[in-house]
């Protein structure tokens, strides 16, 4: 039985406190997920500068080699990654939902899937491969989870709720090999005309009272907000029915 070809596409992030280059948190989770797949042949690939010290952190997670498609760090990585994926034909592509320190648009999984004709699932926290079938657990807001079934080939973007990546070990990081492949540099012409500036603090939203008269302003400031429905003088059975109907109408209970 031939082994499942899995590729983890990694990028370089910036440390939240020091700003130094490090593993991108979500990409590291994607590598961790790939390492946890039984019977899979995992490859790591990066498009950018092979001398970046953060790439060694990925090798420290246990894989012997990291393929680097050499191009300037500011270039567009998608064409290079696509070219590589078309040649290597991985059946499962793992990557973080969004980068950390670049444009961070979160478009990479969708662009790759669109160009390759793969299915795409985002915010994955767990995957299971059975024959050619994938069972993916997707994280939803408020700690909820959803099961998604897909068939290979597939792009799976890993979310922040996925298991934390293992620590990078020093020895394997030194021993690991960075295999450099030159690619045609793709210049992001559109983005060169965009203005980049330090993040400005966003204005806090103020509570605005849209009252036209002094009396309305006074009422808005003093009145207790209300207007809810009140049920009184009913039996407990009827009261329970009212509560249940309300819960059902607002879809708080699904059963």
């Amino acid at each position: 039985m031939n082994r499942l070809k899995v590729a983890a596409m990694v990028s370089v992030g910036s440390h939240p406190a020091s700003g130094r280059p490090c593993r991108a948190p979500l990409d590291a989770r994607a590598v961790e997920m790939g390492l946890g797949l039984d019977g899979a042949e995992l490859q790591m690939v990066h498009a950018g500068d092979p001398d970046n010290p953060a790439l060694r952190d990925y090798l420290g997670m246990g894989l012997p080699t990291l393929t680097v498609l050499q191009q300037p760090a500011q270039g567009d990585s998608i064409p290079a990654l696509l070219q590589w994926a078309r040649r290597e034909q991985p059946e499962l592509l793992l990557l973080g939902c969004r980068a950390n320190g670049g444009e961070d648009s979160g478009m990479a999984p969708f662009l790759l899937a669109q160009a390759l004709g793969y299915a795409v699932v985002v915010d994955a926290v767990q995957i299971e491969v059975r024959d050619r079938e994938l069972e993916i657990v997707q994280a939803l807001p408020r700690g909820q989870r959803r099961l998604i079934r897909a068939e290979l080939p597939c792009v799976v973007a890993v979310g922040a709720a996925a298991p934390a990546p293992r620590q990078s070990a020093y020895g394997p990081a030194r021993r690991g090999r960075i295999a450099i492949e030159p690619v045609e540099p793709a210049v992001d012409i559109e983005a060169m005309h965009w203005e980049i500036q330090p993040a400005r603090k966003r204005p806090k939203r103020l509570k605005v009272v849209k009252a036209k008269t002094a009396a309305e302003r006074f009422m808005a400031a003093t009145a207790v907000q209300g207007g809810g429905k009140t049920v009184r003088g009913v039996s407990p059975t009827e009261a329970a029915r009212v509560i249940y109907d309300y819960l059902k109408e607002e879809e708080l209970v699904t059963r």
């Binding site: 915010d123 408020r142 400005r200 049920v231 059975t237 708080l252």
Partner: protein, 409 residues
Amino acid sequence: MSDSQRPTRKRLDPRETELGQVGNSDRRRINRGQPQPIATAKRAGQRVRRDPRAERSISAGSAGRQRVSLRGLVTTGAETITTSVETGPRMVRIDEPAFLVSVVPDAPSGRLTGHDRDLLGVARSLADAGGGAVLMILFGPLKDDPGAAGADRVMTFEGPGFAGYAPELRSAAVIDAAAQTASRHLLFPDSAEGGGELGRRVAAQLGERPATGAWRVDPERTTCRIAAGKQDQVRPTPRVLLVAAEAADPVSDALYEARPLPTPEVVGAVLLEDGGRIAVDPDDVALAEAEFIVSAGNGVQDWDSFHQLATRLGAAEAGSRVVVDAGFIPRFRQVGATGTLVTARGYLAFGISGAPQHLQGITQCDHVIAVNTELGCDMMKRASLSVVGDAQAIMPELIRLVEVEGEQA
């Protein structure tokens, strides 16, 4: 020698220096520029004065004593007259818009979120700047008023294919709708509720480069937060925008038409199958993130029923400070100023009177249901549904009802 007799130094009159020849007259006057027309109006006695007696005789249609209250001028003992004119929201109708701005709100379970309303505010600013209109694209019915939220047109895709998790068919539908209406912009909320994913899918399929995390949008330029929140990117406003929360104020003072538009037939390849929600133990989720909370206060004595009800409803358990201090609920499940500030969509409170510290903890809850023996307490005023009754009697009835309904379903 007295002071009056002392010889004084000859002083200079400052006006003397300013006097000059003004106009054609021979008289020397201080030159202050152009003569002021207001002075002539005043001299002519044109000032309009109020006549309070006349005003009062007009406003008081019938006999009765007049007094001025906070609500305006009121006549007691007769029909009430309010001087402030009751103006409803401004009605807006755009029949032939120059272009359309399409908005795809999340609207989970048919209700617009705060993020959705902010997004519609952005859409309105883009549309109003050039005489355009806002098209709201919905999947399934909306319980809120789309016109009050700012939609001129509404397109609702309904059918089993769009229900649940269907990002592929939905993105195909959005692309078809945008093509049919030739929308100038496509706006999505950059949220985890599905808008972020749908918007990126649509952008990838259209081959557009979207602005993501956009927080300042005008017709020419868009500012996006990039580089893990450390930088801003200013770029020309693209066709597809994924807008951050609070990027604009929601529409509040106008009512738009919300005219329904016919939906195109949608065909799209579906590669993903929705396996449904996975049951998550509500107590594993952090209380601040829980979606539905059942909370107990001092009015609860029947703790077996309380725990059973929470399990049956699939809700997280919580309590007020009193029951936590008494040891019935663990400290990390306390709601309020000294506990957790919760963001649940639903909050079902049994026997909680609503101390200010507790109400601070539930300010972000959308649907508060209070069960209490006393109607006048603050919790009942805060609640969207208040039930006067004993928690010990209502809880077992509710458990029974949930069981019966669960069997029928």
